[in-house]
Symmetry: C2
Subunit: 458 residues, 2 copies
């Protein structure tokens, strides 16, 4: 018999008990039940609150003791003092997992540290697993389950987010994700558990992590090496600086090691390590929306000469080189231009576009690049006007990556157009596009070869 993974009841709970659910509902109430129902959860729900008669039409049990046996998951959002006893009672009712949303444990004062030790004791003695304390828990867009008290976006993309903060769940780096775990103070379930779960999860292709510290370095490195053979892991670490490290102690009660040690570990394992919130989302997006590739010959198509030159500088900065266009490409493209124009790479298409129609010219040039065996990838510079054309042409050559730098002064309209056309591999600057492409290229170049990645090396 296959032993079930300890995280199964957390990610795909068939039944959930909400302990300490509030009677307040509506805006500003942060009511977990309301959020769960809104998220479309279809499993059984049990409420526990000694004072509440019923909430949103569901009757509340007075005590955990009154619950049926064998519920998959309990969410605990009570005052901190009550938590250790509740965890014990959950174990008594054969509840498989609990998420402790309550705060005030190892991240706070002596009493909090004492209470967390009491929880740890229950976990050691009994057959129950814990996420948290100080966690917003789990979100699974595929399974329509969310333990968050905040309304979260639903996005069934094959990205798992493993985090030590809920902040990333609200998407602060612009990083889309389909399943997420906030490990909180990490008293029990940790990075290794989460990684082994997502390793086997066929709905997940990319793993993104926010880490402050880890407890099991050899275990972590071993599982990462295994996972990286099939799924890229992108990591951003909080507490790199001495100041950040100390603040982390009062955020999740964790004490990180020296930044150099973490960096060495990421490097040796092949994890893609970033230090900027922007890079994090940018790189995840590149893995998500672009095909794998290992070549480095870039064609740049641009309606602005200056933009093309800046992009070319960045091509060199990020270890790419400009593609030499084939004779066939040159022959196709040249008639679009004035006879005196220098047709090269970057392909500055403004004058040609004005003469023959922007979309027509962009289409012709992009298609030539995508058919050109001397071109490994395309950086397409454009305004919002051309996004749709690029999307349509690129879709016919799904094996060649086309990343877009969308220019224009109105960010709202750029993002809006990209969403309207459901076109995602776009960036707001060429360096950000090429930095993300670099990570994808390095991952696929080094995957399985045993050669160490150099990404994130400083």
């Amino acid at each position: 018999m296959n032993k079930e993974h300890p995280l199964r009841p957390f990610l795909e709970p068939k039944s959930v008990a909400l302990i300490g659910v509030s009677q307040k509902t509506g805006r500003g109430s942060f009511n977990i039940l309301e959020s769960l129902l809104k998220y479309g959860y279809g499993g059984e729900i049990y409420l526990v609150n000694p004072n509440a008669g019923d909430v949103l039409g569901l009757k509340a049990f007075k005590d955990v003791k009154a619950l049926p046996r064998g519920i998959d998951l309990a969410l605990i959002a009570t005052r901190r003092n009550a938590v250790p006893e509740i965890v014990k009672r959950c174990a008594d009712r054969d509840i498989r997992g609990v998420i402790i949303i309550a705060e005030g444990f190892s991240e706070s004062d002596q009493e909090g540290k004492r209470l967390q030790r009491k929880i740890n004791d229950v976990v050691s003695d009994r057959d129950i697993r814990v996420i948290g304390p100080n966690s917003i828990g789990v979100v699974n867009s595929f399974g329509a389950f969310s333990s968050s008290f905040l309304p979260l976006p639903k996005s069934s993309v094959p990205v798992a987010l493993i985090s030590q903060t809920g902040g990333f769940f609200e998407g602060f780096p612009g990083c889309p994700f389909g399943k997420g775990i906030d490990l909180g103070n990490m008293s029990d379930i940790n990075f290794v558990d989460a990684l082994t779960y997502f390793e086997k999860d066929e709905e997940i292709k990319i793993i993104a992590m926010y880490m402050e510290t880890i407890t099991d370095v050899p275990g972590f490195m071993a599982v990462c090496r295994r996972v990286l053979k099939s799924k890229p892991i992108i990591i951003i670490r909080g507490g790199r600086s001495e100041l950040g490290r100390r603040a982390s102690a009062s955020h999740t009660g964790s004490l990180g090691g020296s930044d150099e040690l973490f960096k060495a570990m990421f490097r040796q394992t092949g994890i893609i390590h970033v230090e900027s919130v922007n890079d994090f989302g940018d790189i995840v997006k590149a893995f998500l929306y672009l095909p794998p590739f290992t070549g480095n010959r870039v064609a740049i198509i641009t309606p602005t000469g200056g933009g093309g030159i800046i992009a070319l500088d960045n091509v060199e900065d990020y270890g790419f080189c400009p593609a030499s266009l084939s004779e066939e490409s040159i022959n196709t493209i040249t008639p679009l231009f004035q006879p005196w124009a220098n047709v090269g790479n970057p392909i500055d298409m403004l004058a040609a576009g004005m003469a023959h129609g922007y979309k027509y010219v962009y289409h012709r040039i992009l298609e030539s690049c995508l058919r050109d065996t001397g071109v490994d990838l395309v950086l397409a510079v454009c305004g919002t006007y051309t996004i749709k054309t690029i999307k349509e042409v690129a879709a016919r050559y799904p094996d060649k990556p086309v990343a877009v730098w969308v220019t224009g002064s109105n960010r709202t309209s750029i993002e809006g157009k990209a969403e309207e056309y459901d076109f995602r591999p776009y960036y707001l600057s060429p360096d950000r596009a090429l930095n993300a492409l670099k990570a994808v290229r390095e991952y696929h170049t080094l995957r399985g070869t045993g050669i160490k990645t150099t990404y994130g090396l400083s």
Copy 2:
């Protein structure tokens, strides 16, 4: 008598001749007259086209020779071969300045180089000044004048953009500007001319530049040193790489020197030099929307612990330090929290916000920081929900900078809310916010002291 600056007729033309204006109008026609009228230009307009009877109700002259004498500015958008003779005829009619929009000169083939030399000869011999060739010209939101064939946004902000490409005019780095000059191939009017003009321009407080090369290094350094005493200069250079340098030759016909020389020049002069398109817009925005400051003690307010820790790492990365809150601040803030909470900096306000109301708590904490003499600036982390509160509170303390990192997965809604509330000093990641703040701090710290800025040092 004050001699008028040679750029006055370009930026504030009382009368304009459009030479080579097309009869086509509407989308895709790139009709300069249409664009000029749409932009609200109120001066006299003369059209020249040997074939056109009239365009948009305005009668076209057959020849430049037929124009009245002393028109301020002519825009030339004809085929390249005609340009040298047209410039000469413009000089004959005492036209003060011409913008050569036409392409195909020193950036192209031998014939183009020859034609450009012929233009240069006219400029040397006669009393006429030239912007371009290969330029989209000039835009002045304050004076409602634009020579661009593309519709440009109007934005009366005190930022001047001096560029060697039109791409920046469409705002590709998210950099707002109120006046702009595209120098194009720079056959005559150059960076020094543009700088001396904006030096005295009271509507301009900040100067942003895109440069591929310069012709007069000592003159450039001298004018920059003078301008920098009252106005920051932010520069991004295209053609840093060997590849980019060569591409620049076929973009504006210019040959840049070694990147090291440019960097040394920027450093010695105190120019703020950036290499990323994102940084360019970010820094201009910080100068534009934040008060000057020299202190480095940052208070971080955050609804996400992890976000606060990442921001704290970035505080160290960019040479700031976390502020120690005064006893008064601590006394004001502490009652909002649970007794066991560690109230420090970063100020993690999530739990307090959930207990007492988000906006109320954010207001209280932000106001304490702004009144605290130990706090020099505030990095406020927030979702779109709190932008308005932050704007209102910050407005009451105009001398202390408040930069915001707006989090959330929906970029469109972030940008939309910031626009709706007309709140501008926001950033999409903490590193970008602090990088921009660093530039402002360094500029104001070093201004007038004669100490060299270290910004952009690698």
